[in-house]
Symmetry: C2
Subunit: 364 residues, 2 copies
Amino acid sequence: MALNARPAGARTRGTGGPTLAVVGATGAVGAVLIDLLSTRRDVYGEIRLVASPRSAGRTLALRGADVEVAPLAPEVFDGVDIAVFGVPDAVAARWVPVATGRGAVAVDNSGAFRMAPDVPLVVPEVNPERVRRRPRGIVASPSCTTLSMIMVIGALHRRYGLRELVVSSYQAASGVGLEGVDTLYEQMEKVGGDRALGNRAGDLRCAVGEFGPFPAPLAMNVVPWAGEVRDGGWSSEELKIREESRKVLGLRDLRVTATCVRVPVVTAHSLSVHAVFEDRVDQREAQAVLAGSPGVVLCDNPETQEFPTPADVVGTDPAWVGRVRRSLDDPKALDLFLCGDNLRNGAALNTAQIAELVAAELTP
Amino acid sequence: MALNARPAGARTRGTGGPTLAVVGATGAVGAVLIDLLSTRRDVYGEIRLVASPRSAGRTLALRGADVEVAPLAPEVFDGVDIAVFGVPDAVAARWVPVATGRGAVAVDNSGAFRMAPDVPLVVPEVNPERVRRRPRGIVASPSCTTLSMIMVIGALHRRYGLRELVVSSYQAASGVGLEGVDTLYEQMEKVGGDRALGNRAGDLRCAVGEFGPFPAPLAMNVVPWAGEVRDGGWSSEELKIREESRKVLGLRDLRVTATCVRVPVVTAHSLSVHAVFEDRVDQREAQAVLAGSPGVVLCDNPETQEFPTPADVVGTDPAWVGRVRRSLDDPKALDLFLCGDNLRNGAALNTAQIAELVAAELTP
């Protein structure tokens, strides 16, 4: 433990703001959450950092001080007003009810409660009013893939009325957590710039060794799979995009189809989206709508080779969109390409913003 | 020159088959063409290897012998029956007419003549009959991105009647030739498995140095651009997919929209395709149609994590397809993911097959 670390669970500030617990503080999303808590406007009193007993005891820098990570246990939620969860589904399923049972509002970044009818699924730029309707005391944040897209598409929906989405993803390794990041780096190190290797499967499979959380080598490859197997050959990640888009936009019958593909990028998901609307669309107007939308940055000038790429958006807050075109054979359809930092824009930032909406309610 | 090399333009065989010239023998597509000519059924008499004066004089292995590459000049086409071109558009535009002017049938892999109304655009598995209608003596082969897709979609079109395509591509570096391959390898070598680097644009841009033929770093990134700028924010590559699909399938009003994205893969293009048909589709039947189509391999079992990836298809002849699903909100639409070796399936093989169709005509 660092010399100046405070004991686990100690109050880090004396302000009158609500007490926050960050569960999953040592994970991929947790690291970004802690960064955001140290850099955004400080609305909290005490902040407790919590992780699995395996990761607890470590000391993390938060709001300019070192804070020791407490082990996840029921008592850690005593006196907590808001508990944000950046943990796997199974951990959230077990511990979110513990937090709400002890009086905290839970803001959950996992998939455990997203589709529950009595849990609101919130993107503050799109449907902030839903935060207040939380009969179970739980507010869910969408999956990272849906999130960047819905910020962009939500803005266009308000103007043109959304009817259909056809989505293809280019998802980063960190979407499966730190294990995905480690696996990609290890594979990248092994293949390096080895020209003799090429990218033939046999050689590549031998060279990269373990596939880690991916079903095939990811370095020098793309893998058309993310999540678990569902009926009809769909992946859980593809169904999530459909279900979550419908729920956040409040469009129960929205036609959505998605193909999710993992690419050898560490962080930042990209999506190619074909969106069909009720009204006729106009390229320049759509670009203006996007440029004026909160949380969205328009980066769109092919003449000067301006378009978002994962490398450009890593570490940034907004959803970036470019390549906005009106479909040549459908005056009611737009094609576009967007990128968002899946840990930040697609997870931690949305969770932090939801928590701030709740904090504003709780603060007199 | 190797000791056993034959002088430029010498006959390499004495069979009665037609004389073939391979123009662009030292390029990325040329290398695969020469491999195919050495391994497929040998239907030619003499084969001349031709390249720019800069690359001429080199010796390449062909049909078990070493052959010297002749410099591109009008006389090289004297006595040639079939000239296959694997060269950039501008070179083809200038030299294809020289070849046909000297009596050769030109099979052109470039984009120079693809959309000319009096030049057939041929995929032997889809529209072989078009080879014979060539008023200018030119037969064109589609672009690599269109080609793998059209072999898959052509089979489904015959069964269900195609109405619309929404395409997102995952295109390999070798799609822009050897310069693209070199650039990616150099960038891969520089970034290696450097965790400190991450994939933030500033660091990545510094680390990779030159972008080569790409408008942004390609290692650890995806770049939503391929080709030149066209009206409405479209890229030439995206318009090619639309125009060539319509021409090969003979569907003048087919609705097509595409977003082309470059990925850090050396060879093999992938495409995510949403295809809407006239008739209702069935997942199992569509899989059976694809499994029974010439030039197509079905690789589709999510339960056992079977789907095509670029690494699996590099160096193979067919177009590979998997992730075949019936769209959840449209009983007339299929979603699928396909991969093809862009140099082989997407270029050299189709060119070689067209040349063989012409050779069969010319051989008594």
